[in-house]
Amino acid sequence: CEIKQLSDCLIRLLLDRRDGTRTSEALTPAAAARDEFQEELVIRPLHSGDIYASFQFRTLWDTDFLQEGQKVSHYRLFPKSLGQVLSKFSVRELHISFTQGFWRTMQWGQPFIPSPPGAELWVWFHDTVSDVDGNWKELTNVLSGIFCASLNFIDLTNTVQPSASFKPLGLGNATDHRFLRYATLPREIVCTENLTPWKKLLPCGSKAGLAVLLKSEKLFHSSFHSQAVHIRPVCQDEQCTSKAWELRQTLNVVFDLYTAGQGKKEWSLFKMFSRTLTEACPLATSSKVYVDITDNPELFELSPATPLLSQAVVLGDRRTYSVFDLTRAETFGQLRSLNLLLRWKGDGEMLRPLLHAERYVAGFGLQTGEIHTVIYNNHPYRAFPVLLMDSVPWYLQLYIHTLTVTSKSRDNKPSYIHYQPAKDRHRPHLLEMLIQLPPHSMTEVTVQFERALLKWTEYTPDPNHGFYVGSSVVSALVPSMVAMNTNFTQDQPLFSSFVPVKEESSYFVRVYTEPLLVNLPTPDFSMPYNVICLTCTVVAVGYGSFYNLLTRTFQVDEPSLPLAKRLANLIRRIRGVPLLT
């Protein structure tokens, strides 16, 4: 955390202490809007032998911050700090994620909620906002304080307005991308300082319920850590007559069985989180733990066994889950605590996820390079279109005429291209393409670039580390193997209900590629003074004089005669006698 942020954090902590009374307010006015809180933990043993734990906390509030003339000041479950921000900046939808690590699609399959390494923030503003850029700038600074992150480094040079890739996930059919802002900070490092403010947004904090498991010393001892906040308007009921606000806090973490397990393939809640569960959050209407047992009993053994089973279609796959309802006392058994235990039996194979993408920089030398984005469609017989979005900083000067898209070594013409060129020091490149992926194919998108020479004050303190280029985003509707569930009214687990499913035959997937680390031509900063002095001297003395010598012609001039001789010559000329020299 920078010093400025540190002070921001302190201020926030103090403020929070002061309005910490919000949860204890039992006297709810009758007129106040209904709100509810749900919490959920999904544990999915992955094929690679790792364990994926996904927390979701959802707060629903039947109110509208943005309604004119109505000032919302009474908060119960919804965090006041976020509510105020939403109403002040007229935010329609806000998605922010902090991720440390890279989601390994090839080993782990698709995550429930994908996120790129570093920080990602995208916001839809209400269409009444006149100064979107101003609101955006202020919002990032405020969020930077709330989450103790370097979001204040988001400015116009790394903000883009994607035209198609990021549609609102909630209510409303906003299509005017002037009200959308998207930015990533691939270099952002996520640590406990970001986790603490995130936990403080929960109604129970980390005192009760599933959140007691969120101990940073274990969460950050993992292969992947991602925490996010998603705020969006949703329907209050099936008829969708009025709007409700939904706040989803998600935390995804993948534990490495290998490093921490010391060879033993055995896992329990206690080993993962160094805590067991003893109660649900008292404010929660539902509190559940799901364990994916689709591969049971081939891969692992689960204890204690539970009779409650639930089936859900998620990411194009029908999965079976054991459900542990924390609101029921019998879940905890006689020990009054729940410690799930998993024993592994076999080894998993590499997955072939239907959609998979990766990216790298090709070429060598510090002048030019080529960005390669490779997208795999592993579906055996279905072709489907994907939207590829690339946001490249201005200091990589893209040669857009070198853009090629090839599938199966044939040219693949994108049906839609949106390209916004960069302006030096003002805005990044934005490239969006709709590409049809043939079945069972590898599609390669390449574009060449030139590395810009920065001004010497524009280099970071560690210029030889390189400069980051954020992940590219591949969004697609992937054909589903099983019929997706389009019925919203059913009481679904949270993890399967984040992205609305509009049709049965396909499901929405977003895949992020790895960020790039690109070396720019870097002067030797260790001795700039010597270099500048020497160069200037050589140029001034050497070049100047040599130029002078080479361009001038020299003539030996006659020494002027002394005055006496000149006078004598004058007389001699009159006399007609030869002159003296």
Binding site: G101, D256, T259, A362, H465, P515, L516, D524, S545
Partner: protein, 612 residues
């Protein structure tokens, strides 16, 4: 500069320079050689030191680590006997928790490589990536071990796998680590690197890589061929004389000191008696070996190819020299673990320390600022001679200002007399560069030789044929060569050679220096008025080809494997074929430099000698 713009004082200065030209040149030459030899003298060199702060000694907790090396590889050694056991390697890496990928490549050499007995090369690289936890796949380190046929280098692969297993259980990695086992030594590395960076410079055919790990920050290559190691040798010289950052050598040296492992460079141990004659000779020999190895521009280990991609890399070779002092594999494992861990700590690429240096021993180095002076002293001779000629050329012209008709004469035939030999000698150079490889089939048809011999002998033949050119050049020209003509030609050739050597030395000091030592004396003193037979002999004996021959003999002498004249000749021929192969396979630039520039330049002076 006022000195030069004042005509009378300028006259005095130029007079002084032309009068004392020969003594000054001789003094410069001797001073250059003496300075160079002095570089190996310990009081004149600097002690090496770690520049990179992130690799400071406090960053790694040393102490006994339980690194138990898998002895199981001994059993699998036999499996590795015929080619590369790809399937076994894939399984072995997968069971250690790495992401494993393979890459196949093939390449038809321009002509058969008789040293390594290969022509149509087909191979497979196996690599496993250890993903660092919570790292976004932007940075990587490479540990590679060439899997060569026969019994050699099995221990390196075994150590690599043991390291992989140990590293997999550690949590402190911040960069992905790629474990690469490459077949056909350099060609495998070349195929892998080209595929990783999606370039194709040398026309290799390879399958694309499936897994990557971002930009590679550093690489280490292991070469261990016996169970018992007495010392470790560090190899730094890479393609085209590129060297890795000196901090990499410092790191190796620091860990060797810490773990008490004997370490050598150029296969020579360090001595402490710098003040004795033996001590100095030892240091000078070590440095000379480095200069010779660097000058030949080939990659002396797998690491050499990484340098092109701005990846700092070095090879570590285990040596069993039957000393009493022995190092077990666990210690070497610990040494490598320490080095990799420190590289893992790097925040930036290695850039703090020197990229241009010579090492008289592992703990002493000569920086570019010191050794360039030796080269500068040699090249300044060429400039002085050029200045002398310039003044001589200008003086009669000044005298002829009064007679306007005479002043036209010297510049009239000038352009053609100079241009013709320049063009003809360069065409010879082009022929020397292109014909050997392209004419091999024809040569094999007409003479009872193998392809390789055909290529080398064609090269020698063209080189020798070039010597006959001056007479033909003279016949081509209508006018007779004048006194003015050869001076202009020599002036051009001197400046050309000075620029050539200067540029070469900036990239590869050793090559530039060795060429300067042999070429400068003859080029500086050559005139048509010298006794033809004697000076022709001297010129031939100091020609680029003979320089290569001398280097072969000196190198053999220095590695304590002296050869007889006939063996030396065979070695010389194989060096030529290796040079051409290195150019074709890896893009080494020494052969084209010699054929296209240095040799034609030398021919220009040869032309002057036979000016009539």
């Amino acid at each position: 500069m006022g000195l030069l713009s004042d005509p009378s004082r300028r006259k005095v200065l130029t007079g002084l320079l032309t009068r004392l030209n020969t003594p000054i040149c001789i003094v410069c030459y001797l001073a250059g050689i003496v300075w160079f030899m002095g570089l190996a003298f310990e009081p004149f060199t600097l002690r090496t030191y770690m520049s990179e702060n992130a690799m400071g000694s406090t960053m790694v907790s040393s102490g006994e680590r339980a690194l138990s090396l898998a002895k199981e590889f001994d059993a699998h050694k036999r499996q590795a006997y015929d080619g590369m056991p790809v399937e076994w390697l894939v399984k072995a890496m997968q069971s250690r928790g790495l992401e494993v990928f393979t890459q196949s490549f093939s390449r038809k050499l321009p002509f058969p490589d008789e040293n390594k007995e290969r022509y149509m090369v087909r191979g497979t690289n196996v690599y496993g990536i250890l993903r660092a936890p919570r790292a976004p796949r932007t940075e990587a380190l490479v540990i590679s071990a060439p899997c060569s046929p026969g019994d050699s280098n099995n221990q390196a692969v075994g150590l690599l796998l043991a390291l992989a297993q140990y590293f997999r259980n550690q949590v402190y990695w911040a960069k992905d680590i790629i474990f690469l086992v490459n077949e056909h030594d350099l060609m495998g590395t070349q195929a892998w690197l080209e595929a990783y960076h999606h370039t194709n410079i040398t026309g290799m055919e390879y399958s694309p890589l499936q897994g990557r790990a971002g930009s590679i920050q550093a690489a280490l290559s292991l070469e261990l061929s016996s169970d018992v190691i007495t010392s470790l040798d560090l190899i730094l010289e890479g393609l085209n004389g590129q060297l890795p950052n000196l901090d990499l050598a410092n790191l190796f040296y620091a860990f060797c000191q810490k773990l008490g492992v004997l370490c050598t460079i150029q296969g020579k141990l360090q001595r402490n008696d710098w003040d004795t004659a033996e001590g100095y000779t030892h240091a000078a020999q070590t440095m000379m070996l480095m200069v010779l190895k660097q000058a030949c521009g080939r990659s002396w280990g797998d690491h050499g190819l990484f340098l092109r991609y701005h990846i700092e890399a070095a090879s570590v070779r285990g040596i069993n020299s039957f000393r009493h002092y022995k190092t077990d594999a666990a210690t070497i494992g610990r040494l490598l673990e320490g080095m990799v861990r420190k590289l893992n700590n790097l925040l930036e690429r290695l850039h703090q320390s020197y990229f241009f240096y010579l090492l008289p021993s592992l703990s002493r180095f000569v920086s570019i600022g010191c050794y360039m002076l030796a080269f500068g002293l040699l090249v300044v001779i060429l400039l002085l001679r050029a200045l002398d000629l310039w003044v001589h050329l200008g003086a009669p012209a000044l005298a002829a200002v009064e007679g306007v008709t005479e002043a036209q004469q010297p510049s009239g035939p000038g352009v053609l007399t100079v241009l013709t030999p320049v063009v003809i000698s360069h065409l010879t150079g082009v022929a020397l560069y292109l014909l050997p490889v392209h004419l091999q089939e024809m040569a094999v048809e007409h003479f009872p030789v193998s392809e390789t011999e055909a290529v080398v002998l064609t090269a020698v033949a063209i080189y020798t044929a070039g010597l006959a050119l001056p007479h033909n050049t003279q016949r081509l020209l209508s006018g007779e060569g004048t006194e003015q003509g050869w001076k202009v030609l020599k002036l051009t050739a001197l400046l050309y050679l000075a620029v050539l050597l200067g540029c070469t030395a900036l990239i590869n000091f050793s090559l530039g220096f060795i060429l300067a030592v042999t070429l400068v004396p003859i080029t500086a003193s050559m005139t048509p008025h010298m006794p033809k037979a004697l000076s022709a002999l001297v010129m031939v004996l100091l020609s680029p080809a003979f320089t290569v021959l001398y280097c072969v003999f000196i190198y053999q002498e220095l590695i304590e494997a002296p050869v007889s004249v006939s063996e030396g000749w065979m070695l010389f021929l194989s060096v030529i074929s290796q040079g051409i192969l290195d150019h074709a396979l890896y893009g080494s630039l020494v052969y084209p430099l010699l054929a296209l520039f240095i040799y034609p330049c030398w021919l220009m002076f040869w032309n002057i000698l036979f000016w009539s």
